[in-house]
């Protein structure tokens, strides 16, 4: 099967993730969009691995997964804390950290 299809799928997923991250206000959704981008890049990495015939890409994707898992832990914790204090998960409301 042509690996290009996987790359195209990866690109589509990544774009969906980017648009979701930029357009949605809900922190949970934005967060899921980030995860989507990470997974899109994982897909691309694995495809590259297939194309080049070595394992580098697959190993890299493992790293991404580990980082993503760690990120989920911290990110969700932050979101939950923000929700507790502000009763909202809108990313636009949490805008105090500025000039």
């Amino acid at each position: 099967m042509n690996p290009d299809y996987y790359l195209v799928l990866s690109a589509i997923l990544f774009s969906v993730g980017v648009l979701g991250f930029l357009l949605r206000r809900n922190a949970i959704v934005a967060f899921m969009s980030v995860e989507l981008m990470l997974n899109a890049s994982n897909l691309a990495l694995v495809s590259f691995s297939k194309v080049h015939g070595n394992l580098d890409g697959q190993i890299a994707s493992f790293f991404v997964m580990v980082v993503a898992a760690a990120e989920v832990v911290i990110g969700l914790a932050i979101i939950v804390t923000i929700f507790r204090t502000r009763r909202s998960t809108s990313v636009d409301n949490a805008n105090l950290l500025k000039f």
Binding site: F21, V91, N95, K98
Partner: protein, 636 residues
């Protein structure tokens, strides 16, 4: 061929190797009294006096030993330790006990001990008497380092040490603003003189690689003329600062703010003569340079007139004596500037002056003691009956300073005037005029203080001072009379090896024509002084004074000159530098660049708006831009 070249100092042995004790004892006593604090209050004055006397005893033993030694072994060097050894230089801390320094040692410790004894009574009611004695001991130690050091750097240690003790003692009553200001002024003006000594040492090191008197003297002949002149003038600058010679004279009059024993010891008898010592010590350098020698003589002559002028118009008894001190040191400088012929006379006059001036300063202190610390002679008068001992001793000092026949000053000062005439008629006549003026202002002082009517302020009951004060007065008075005759025939020969002077027989009784003229001039001065002040003396300063008196009262505008030429421009300079530091260096060059950075930051921080999604958009845009650039880069 110079005598000193042939007689290099011999190494110390026996008693001489303990010469450092002379310095160590008062130094240790000073340290002990300062660190010991209030615990030592009860007996501090006794310890201080004992330390000074101990130094005197050691000095006396050394002197007796030198008297018995052969001429070739009368200069003894006592090396102590290496101060600086680096590169090719070895600068030692060492002492040189020779004919010149031992006389100074006796003067310093002898007069110093008497003044210590006097101070026991004079300072009895001061709550800080302990500190006073500590500083006096510090002074004795420093002054001994000055005269005993065997090289210029060791001398400089003492030089600055006496400056420090002078500072501490002038400002002893620090709670008076005038005293504090006078102390600071003395220190700073002295420091200007020190500049000269410092630079002279640098030049000596450049020329000889050493500051030792022996090395410098041995090689002085190979010094190039211009360097000899430069070094000579630099040393003269140093001497001017320490000895209150024009143009660095302004501090001495203010220095009278200190307690009177201090004025007697430091600002009359010993420290202020250090400049003369320095010049005589360096006489082999001056021998190479007639220019610098002439400068010394001119400075001395100017100062001797300058000081005498001030002496004629002051009403403050201590300031009259201070002006007189300047004037007498002017005589010594003049003698020192005359070269080898004058050097011995300079030292001779220095010693006799040490006696009679200390005597008179202490006498003035005794008067002040009886007059509730008043110093204005217009409030004195008719004190000869109230204070007979003070009067009699003071009168002996008076006779000595005006050069009354066969008193100390008669021998020492007349020799200087005579030598000055031999050198140049101009210098001689000016010195002669100075002698007349001296007689005038001293007579004025005597008349206003001890004769005439009582002009005492209310509540003042003059009384004779206690024994501890009168005994030193009596001793000094006797010395003022006999010292001249005692040393006249001996001192020239004694000092010849150290000063390079030709030995000249000076008879006790023979009187030269110049001597007669001098006596006549002095008599005129005395007569004028008596004539003008024989009657009423107004108790306030008369308004219709002549120009000369007004100038004299204002110290011949020395302070005004300093203020206009140095202080004001200095203040403006400091102000200008401060302004430029704030506005140009910090504000302009450095501040400008920080200003640009902060202006840029003010604009750019707007990007930090707090909206996560706008950050995200920026990131995406950035990523796209980078991607686009990479792709375009590949295509190109």
């Amino acid at each position: 061929m110079n005598l000193l070249e042939t007689t290099a100092p011999i190494a110390a042995s026996g008693l001489y190797s303990w010469a450092w004790l002379m310095i160590a004892i008062p130094a240790a006593s000073a340290a002990f009294l300062l660190v010991g604090g209030k615990l030592t209050d009860a007996w501090a004055h006794l310890l201080g006096t004992a330390a000074s006397i101990a130094s005197f005893v050691i000095g006396l033993l050394l002197f007796v030993d030198l008297l018995g030694a052969t001429e070739g072994s009368r200069a003894v060097s006592v090396p102590l330790w290496d101060l600086i050894t680096t590169g090719d230089w070895t600068i030692q801390v060492g002492l040189l006990v020779d004919q010149l320094s031992i006389l100074f040692v006796l003067l310093i410790t002898g007069v110093g001990s008497l003044i210590h004894i006097y101070s026991i009574g004079y300072m009895a009611h001061d709550s800080r008497r302990r500190e006073f004695f500590a500083y006096m001991n510090l002074f004795i130690a420093a002054m001994l380092i000055l005269v005993l050091g065997d090289n210029y750097l060791t001398l400089f240690f003492g030089w600055e040490g006496v400056g420090l003790s002078s500072y501490l003692l002038i400002g002893f009553w620090y709670f008076k603003k005038s005293a504090a200001v006078a102390a600071k002024k003395a220190f700073v003006v002295n420091r200007i003189g020190d500049l000269g000594l410092l630079m002279a040492m640098f030049a000596l090191l450049t020329q000889f690689g050493s500051t030792s008197f022996v090395v410098v003297n041995q090689n002085a002949a190979s010094l190039s003329g211009s360097w000899a002149t430069i070094i000579g003038l630099l040393l003269l600058l140093a001497a001017c600062g320490k000895s209150a010679q024009v143009p660095l004279q302004s501090w001495l009059l203010d220095a009278m703010e200190g307690p009177t024993p201090v004025s007697a010891l430091i600002h009359a008898a010993t420290m202020v003569t250090a400049g003369v010592y320095l010049i005589i010590r360096s006489h082999l350098i001056y021998d190479q340079t007639p220019t610098a020698q002439l400068a010394v003589a001119v400075v001395g002559t100017v100062t001797l007139l300058f000081g005498a002028w001030i002496g004629t118009s002051k009403d403050d008894i201590k300031k009259v004596l201070a002006g007189s001190t300047m004037s007498q040191i002017g005589y010594m400088m003049l003698a020192a500037g005359l070269g080898p012929v004058g050097a011995a006379f300079a030292i001779f006059h220095l010693l006799t002056h040490g006696f009679f001036k200390a005597n008179m300063c202490l006498g003035a202190g005794s008067v002040m003691h009886g007059m509730n610390d008043d110093v204005d002679m217009r409030h004195f008068g008719a004190l000869r009956k109230a204070m007979p001992i003070t009067f009699l001793t003071f009168a002996m000092g008076y006779l000595a300073i005006i050069g009354f026949p066969f008193t100390a000053g008669f021998y020492s000062k007349d020799h200087i005037i005579e030598a000055a005439f031999h050198e140049s008629v101009v210098l001689g006549s000016l010195a002669l005029i100075g002698a007349g003026v001296t007689a005038f202002y001293m007579t004025r002082l005597m008349m206003m203080t001890f004769f005439g009517d009582k002009r005492w302020l209310k509540g003042v009951h003059p009384h004779e001072s206690p024994m501890s004060m009168t005994i030193p007065l009596i001793v000094l008075a006797v010395l003022s009379i006999i010292a001249g005759a005692a040393m006249n025939n001996w001192i020239g020969e004694w000092l010849a090896p150290a000063t390079g002077a030709e030995v000249e027989q000076m008879s006790l009784l023979s009187i030269t024509p110049i001597g007669i003229i001098t006596m006549l001039t002095v008599a005129v001065g005395v007569f004028l002084g008596w004539w003008f002040f024989r009657g009423e003396v107004p108790s306030t300063v008369p308004a219709n004074s002549n120009v000369f008196a007004i100038a004299g009262r204002n110290d011949l505008y020395g302070d005004a000159f300093n203020e206009a030429v140095f202080m004001r421009p200095g203040q403006h300079l400091v102000g200008g530098v401060s302004w430029s530091d704030d506005h140009l260096v910090d504000g302009g060059i450095v501040g400008g660049s920080t200003g640009m950075v902060s202006a840029a930051a003010t604009v750019l921080r707007r990007l930090q708006n707090g909206y996560v999604r706008s950050y995200g958009l920026t990131m995406v845009a950035g990523a796209l831009l980078v991607g686009a650039l990479i792709i375009l880069g590949r295509l190109a």
